[in-house]
Amino acid sequence: MNPPFGIPPELFTILLALGLLAGFVGLNGLVLVYLERKVAGHIQRRPGPFEVGPHGILQPLADALKLVGKQLITPRGADKWLFWTAPIISFAPVFVLFLPIPFGPVLTAMEMDLGLLLILAFAGINVLALCLAGWSSENKWSLLGAARAVAQSVAYEIPLLLAVLAIAFQFGSLNLSTIVSGQGAWPWQWNIMVQPVAFFIYFVCALAETNRAPFDLPEAESELTAGFHTEYSGMGFGIFFLAEYANMIVVCAVATALFLGGWNGPAAPGVWWFLVKVYLLLLVMMWFRWTYPRVRFDQLLNLSWKWLLPLALINLLVTLVLVKI
């Protein structure tokens, strides 16, 4: 494909990818909201959304429209600038996060050698948004939520990194496409078989990083009303919500690429295998949410520092030794 207007081909690919990604993220947000509500409904033995469209399939669209139509209220006493930058900061990195993810053999927005590093680096920005949102709302519940978000992110980023590092050492590359190509078509050829501990640590940390139950402390509904986004109305809240779901997709996509063989599958490898695996992981995340109670804050940190971090270190050491041998 020849790019029009004399744009450099690399830039054109990235722009095209960004456009497609925006659509993908938005659409996925809607699909995931629907899925989440349906999963919740069926787990609780009720139908879930049912009224808008057949089986309520248009419900998330109606919700989105409602959110768009709502008034944006800035609380009196809030820091207006920070208050409204926070949702944007939370959503902006999502596009960068998607760039190095290998959806298919050729379907990668930007092939880069440090793809994994890029994702890990930009995923850390989200916590800044939560922190700002909580701080600038001038609401005590939001402030508590922000404090929790920061401590939680810092605590869980380290074991997450260490778990991912084990895979990176094993393949000697931070390029996600390389890691995916290094795995076979069948489940027993995937990294999860070689690195089950790393996968376990990664998944637990991913739940914590995306603030999903049972680690949803920054927005703990029954404790902090809505945590850091208590004061946000309309699309302010909507963007946080969308960013949360986009981050879920990112962590699941990375997990798929690193541990579940990416686009490889027993038959007809391609983007569909990737999507199927991502969605299965997302369903598991939802399943967790509707099963478990929330952990307490100190327990959450204890889990990270006392269990996951040593486990990840040991796992990394063992990997290193085995790779060297």
Partner: protein, 434 residues
């Protein structure tokens, strides 16, 4: 109309005047320096307060509470609108980080003057109020009132009515515990258990709907009996329900009781010693969770409970998990009671023929009667001057005593623990405020 206008006028002048504190002070008759205090350290958050901005926040309770606070701590007002306070309870915390230094419950948002209403209505007419004091275990309150008046007037209750009361009251107790189970888990962040609890509770409501006609605020017991008989369909439904709920209990255990996260959240949290229970007058599962086997059904036997064989579950751990375990064991005990009562249910009338009519005049006297509710000892203290209306009605709600514990138990715990403790006390706010 005129008053409204005056206030609006004041507010407009307020905007034009340079010193808003003075105007507000004039308007609300507060000393200007007090407002200054409020605006600098009052409801303002820990972030800086820009000069000149006015905080009119804080009512008597927050202002009163703030007096002891230091600059390092934060006053947090939880409720009366908060997901964890189940209604309109309000709690003020003084926090350092997330640790609670002091806490104080503020009551009265749902005060409906039930005790005063008792003085204005006849003995018969007061019954519907009882369903609304504690809507979750309405029949226990029904029973407390009926029992007190029956004791006062020496009214005989037919034996069948006594058994019907036992069966329906225990069913209601199970439904109350099931709702508590779900709501408690909701406090702890698990969304699904409440739906499973509701699934089973709904069956109880269907059963209780047959004789009582309602699903929540029952007004079913009458002076000298019950309002309607338990028909064969209802009895069959109960007979089916008992084994059904028994078969569901393992699921509850698998999903929740054995869950590691729940155990970590509850074990060792909210330690209530026996001594503390005695000081505050805590009863019910809260007291039994501290290892004291005190149950009004055994301690001050009423009705046909002495004839029934059941045990009083206790737990010596004194923590949230102990109270949880006690309630879950009580569900099983209530099922046992229902089974026995169904077998022993005699035939006969369900409402004494010579039962008091609505305009019945009680003999002069004073009487105290207590029953065991889902939350503890429900007491009615009744003074009669011989007329058709009570002279004085005092309702003893177990939730009030249990809530009083909170200030002492929650000290030094995390905010999340305070929510767990609140849930483990099983509070029903209408009962506390009455």
């Amino acid at each position: 109309m005129r008053q409204k206008y005056r206030i609006r006028l004041n507010v407009t002048t307020l905007q034009t005047l340079p010193q808003p504190e003075v105007c507000i002070a004039l308007l609300f008759e507060i000393a200007p320096n007090q407002i200054q205090r409020l605006s600098t350290q009052g409801l303002a958050m820990t972030s800086s307060v820009s000069p000149g901005r006015l905080y009119l926040g804080g009512d008597f309770y927050t202002n009163h509470f703030e007096k002891g606070s230091s600059p390092d701590t934060m006053i947090l007002n939880m409720g009366p609108q908060h997901p964890a306070t189940h209604g309109v309870l309000r709690i003020i915390f003084e926090l350092e980080g997330e640790y609670i230094l002091r806490t104080e419950p503020v009551l009265g948002y749902l005060h409906r003057m039930h005790e005063k209403m008792g003085e204005e209505q006849t003995y018969y007419q007061y019954m519907p109020n009882m369903g609304r004091v504690d809507y979750l275990h309405a029949l226990a309150w029904n029973w407390a009132w009926a029992g007190a008046v029956e004791k006062l007037g020496g009214i005989e209750v037919p034996r069948r009515a006594e058994f019907i009361r036992v069966i329906t009251c225990e069913l209601n107790r199970i439904s109350s515990h099931l709702l508590w189970w779900g709501a408690f888990l909701l406090d702890l962040g698990a969304f699904t258990p409440i739906m499973y609890g509701f699934d089973d509770r709904e069956r109880i409501l269907d059963i209780l709907q047959r004789p009582t006609g309602s699903r929540l605020t029952y007004s079913y017991y009458r002076l000298g009996g019950v309002a309607a008989d338990l028909d064969d369909t209802a009895l069959d439904m109960i007979r089916d329900f008992v084994p059904y709920l028994r078969s569901r209990l393992p699921m509850y255990r698998d999903l929740v009781t054995d869950n590691m996260i729940l155990r970590h959240r509850l074990e060792g949290v909210g330690h209530i010693s026996v001594d503390m229970c005695r000081r505050y007058g805590a009863t019910g599962p809260t007291l039994r969770g501290s290892g004291v086997a005190y149950d009004v059904r055994r301690a001050e036997p009423y009705s046909v409970y002495p004839e029934l064989d059941f045990s009083i579950p206790t737990d010596h751990e004194c923590d949230g998990m102990a109270r949880y375990n006690v309630r879950m064991a009580e569900i099983e005990q209530s099922l046992n009671i229902i089974e026995q009562a169904l077998d022993m249910l005699p035939t006969g009338e369900f409402w004494a023929k010579n039962a008091p009519k609505p305009k019945w005049k009680a003999p002069k006297g004073e009487v105290v009667f207590a029953v065991e509710g889902a939350r503890g000892k429900i007491g009615v203290h009744l003074v009669s001057d011989g007329s058709a209306k009570p002279y004085r009605v005092k309702l003893r709600a177990p939730g009030f005593s249990n809530l009083s514990l909170l200030a002492e138990v929650a000290r030094g715990t995390l905010l999340a623990d305070a929510v767990a403790i609140l849930g483990s006390l099983d509070l029903v706010i209408p009962e506390i405020d009455r």
